[in-house]
Subunit: 329 residues, 4 copies
Amino acid sequence: MSQPRFGAGLWHFASYVDRYAVDGYAPPVTTLEAIARAGEVGDLSVVDLNYPFTPGVGLDEVKDALKEAGLAAIGITPEIYLRKFGRGAFTNPDKAVRHATYDLIDEAAGVVRELGADYVKVWPGQDGWDYPFQVNHHDLWKLAVDGIRQVASPHPDLKFAIEYKPREPRVKMTWDSAARSILGIQQTGLDNVGVLLDFGHSLYGGESPADAAQLLIDHGLLYGMDVNDNLRSWDDDLMVGTVHLTEIFEFFYTLRINNWDGVWQLDQFPFREDTVDTARTSIRFLKALHRALDELDYDGLREAQERQDPIAAQRLVQDALLSCMRSDK
Amino acid sequence: MSQPRFGAGLWHFASYVDRYAVDGYAPPVTTLEAIARAGEVGDLSVVDLNYPFTPGVGLDEVKDALKEAGLAAIGITPEIYLRKFGRGAFTNPDKAVRHATYDLIDEAAGVVRELGADYVKVWPGQDGWDYPFQVNHHDLWKLAVDGIRQVASPHPDLKFAIEYKPREPRVKMTWDSAARSILGIQQTGLDNVGVLLDFGHSLYGGESPADAAQLLIDHGLLYGMDVNDNLRSWDDDLMVGTVHLTEIFEFFYTLRINNWDGVWQLDQFPFREDTVDTARTSIRFLKALHRALDELDYDGLREAQERQDPIAAQRLVQDALLSCMRSDK
Amino acid sequence: MSQPRFGAGLWHFASYVDRYAVDGYAPPVTTLEAIARAGEVGDLSVVDLNYPFTPGVGLDEVKDALKEAGLAAIGITPEIYLRKFGRGAFTNPDKAVRHATYDLIDEAAGVVRELGADYVKVWPGQDGWDYPFQVNHHDLWKLAVDGIRQVASPHPDLKFAIEYKPREPRVKMTWDSAARSILGIQQTGLDNVGVLLDFGHSLYGGESPADAAQLLIDHGLLYGMDVNDNLRSWDDDLMVGTVHLTEIFEFFYTLRINNWDGVWQLDQFPFREDTVDTARTSIRFLKALHRALDELDYDGLREAQERQDPIAAQRLVQDALLSCMRSDK
Amino acid sequence: MSQPRFGAGLWHFASYVDRYAVDGYAPPVTTLEAIARAGEVGDLSVVDLNYPFTPGVGLDEVKDALKEAGLAAIGITPEIYLRKFGRGAFTNPDKAVRHATYDLIDEAAGVVRELGADYVKVWPGQDGWDYPFQVNHHDLWKLAVDGIRQVASPHPDLKFAIEYKPREPRVKMTWDSAARSILGIQQTGLDNVGVLLDFGHSLYGGESPADAAQLLIDHGLLYGMDVNDNLRSWDDDLMVGTVHLTEIFEFFYTLRINNWDGVWQLDQFPFREDTVDTARTSIRFLKALHRALDELDYDGLREAQERQDPIAAQRLVQDALLSCMRSDK
């Protein structure tokens, strides 16, 4: 099968702070610099851009920078997780902040149109709670669902992709799993809302990412996906292919047998490493994985799965996966 | 508010084996002996009975024993997790085993009618998978949902309560969370299928049990619940009230504000302790928790939750919870 | 028993950023402002101060501010986790950074003397690794231990307290548990190095904090401790007493029966809440816990523990703990 | 490097029960049948035998069966986790049970001599606690350490290998990590006590198994090891090489660079699969891993690790690991 298209969140090429290294792991990087770095990777076709851009950077400059870098926009991610939204975006107890959320997403929808992107990415990282008893769960979930309806219904021509995550930065997030996201999307009653599945979120949340992908596909809701890896129990956003080799392979296998042909995106946070080199190393792995997918014995695997036979299945998987870096390829 | 009715899974009064203590932590206990022990507790009104009963024990004997012990049946739990079902009940790759599952549940439905119980409890502990790539996730989920439809549709007068659990004995279980269970139940298209929420399953699965209860109530699907506790990450089935005091309080608070008035059931596995004394100690705690619920400042808490103010909320919670064992009560 | 002395990390009164809310959850707070806030709490006797102070703030100003606030310094925490140390402090592959670590800690030792504090707090949050295969584990551990020896040996009159933690900000930290810390300290061959036990670190790292405290006390190495809470699996640094009531009680019980009489310190990160009110609420709980300790039936508990009888033990524990917020106290 | 010797716990070829499938996942298997099955695998040189053997089976029969199967004994594992020891072996509150523990291990030591095995394997799975406040941690640890001294000191000519594990069957086990085990062994003051490192225990306990192995080697205490895999957070004892490919590779890499040349043992529980086929599939993987070790660029990796450069390291690792199933081998 022909090579997939590769993409990345633009934040992959940023610098990072956390609650300890408050001076940042590296000097700040502007939107335009990040686009240039993304272009350096060499294999990326698209990026998902945080919005607003760095202060002072206009839409035309972004368009030019993308063109210069040989990139297109796949999505726009409004930053509904900055200070203003620290106590929640859609679920903020303050109505004014909820409206600020709607407004920012509305702006982002405009940028999606301007850049010809595929979707508004909605990642409500601050929506949820920190403590037992902090919220009324009925009311909170209603705010979450109503909020999505509020922002997506005025734009029936655009797609809105919710990226669920179990926790962080909120201690417990509202949109926390594939099944819960499907339920909430059904409650919106809209057909332009779907899910962006992050492999690492699914994994550390206790799902099988392959199973989550299948469930979303079966509901027609897998709008996008991104990959990375972690050392279990947290969203470490490590380079894909460095820890969970079998499970990332099963994830892409599931996409393949369903003929899901979207972009293979990176969502990594290389706090301490070179951002371009990190992306290249990840894509090098993904290409090898793609070769492994080409070599897999699909009939044999299907038969093994019909018997639910893990011995036969794993032998076929190991044969394909552990040969994919062969030098003659 | 008047005292709740208390119940327990009859297995609470059994003896246990595990993969190491293969000779069992205590001598075997028959169905009738377990019923007698449940009666000794003194505060139990109902039990959920495993089915089949101990070989040789008939339905009339069970009825008599229940009467003798002052107990009624709340549910029947068919044992679709014994050797025959080791590779799955509803999702077993062997059609004959799936049919054996249907048959056993059908029998159990008959017992529910005979005993005037509330529901057939369906706990598909062997349904799922152990390894990545072992199953086709689309097919597995279809088997799971179709199986429930198969057993529940012939009995529209009876309720079927699915008890979800993330894992164990299967490494990964199919019905693994509240949201996933709601999705699956919706897919059955039936209105006599709901959920039995186990506090410990929800907790170690990464849910907030209070939030899960609210979601189920909002879908009209909370058919039953049981409680216990664990030391995080596994279904230890410890005595309720020994580890997660705040979260069990929030769970019952959520039931109370929704006027959910079902039975407070115990699902504990006292491997190494006296089973009657374990139950008594648990109920002693639950009564104290019930007093704490009576003393809670609901208006104050509601206001705090409207502001999503954890400081105010926790102060009110601590005031009620950390006073509920007062000797004058 | 007389009231304990309370303390807090000065960072409890700061503002915070994380990798998402890069503009901070609140406006920046200087060292002097944080001291003033700590003073407002009303029950704090001591603080542990990050070093260096806010640029422009001198030692004399800090002394004055502490005096003004009615506070003393208990420890100094050199910030060996900022950008310069992002790839490690003691274990940094770059020798120059390792020496910068030594120098900063040496400076901090001077401040400890100046302020009459009890210890240099050493928290090597960036020491460790992110990926499998990233480091040679023998060499890394040697760097970690040699580094501690390097900084502590020139100051035999001062105490150095290592605060272990399983992970964050490093994906995997070198000093990650009580037992590992004891081993490493033994390897230094010094007698002025011990441990500061953080309740939350211990808990989410899979230890029993009570057991960890006992092990450290038995080795004469429990130099200090701080408390907080979390929702399992991560260092959420929530208010103490909001989730794990029984385990925090067992922790303080263990300190009491060992006559450990150090300061009860808070290490909390109130990202979204008022920092002073958070501290007050925490101390309100700790005072209640202290009352519960006074009321506990020690003889009864000792007997129960000799039989390893959890039923008897938990009943005694619940009687004391679930009565400690009584209004007449 | 020449092929490693392979081994397995004899229980790998048994049948299993758990607390749900109380009738067992398969019919019972005797000691002699299990030995025959181990022989069928074809690549096994040694087995670790549970003791006592199946009732009625004598030592001579075992010797004959081993000879017949082409196997030798590497260790003997006394079953200090059956009913009698359900509340603890070394740490049982009942002195008589502690003495029964000593006696059984003494017998096992005799069998080690008779069979010319390498060590007594000590796995105190029931030692620990279930509930907060159940035990006095000082006393419990003392019982644990004293017990080891008690059984190992009369046999200075034999090796005793403690296998640590975080939990199960006890909710929290006493010997729970590599560092804690080293501490305890040092406290025994003996030089014939070491550790058997189980890859899965280390992994789900939050250690890096490679790091744990290095720490044990640096203390001269790595007496043995066994491998398997799990889906995180529990000891699933799955086939090795089915989930954590990179980490098992790092584990064996660490053994290789330290010239650790012991047996590569399997400790797997194939509840639902053919036990012989499971072992063969695991060894097939281990042989591939061994080839990958032969192909690894050690100089390049060492240089990358000196820089703590995960990008360079992972590229080298992927090149070796993901080629090891090449058909021309």
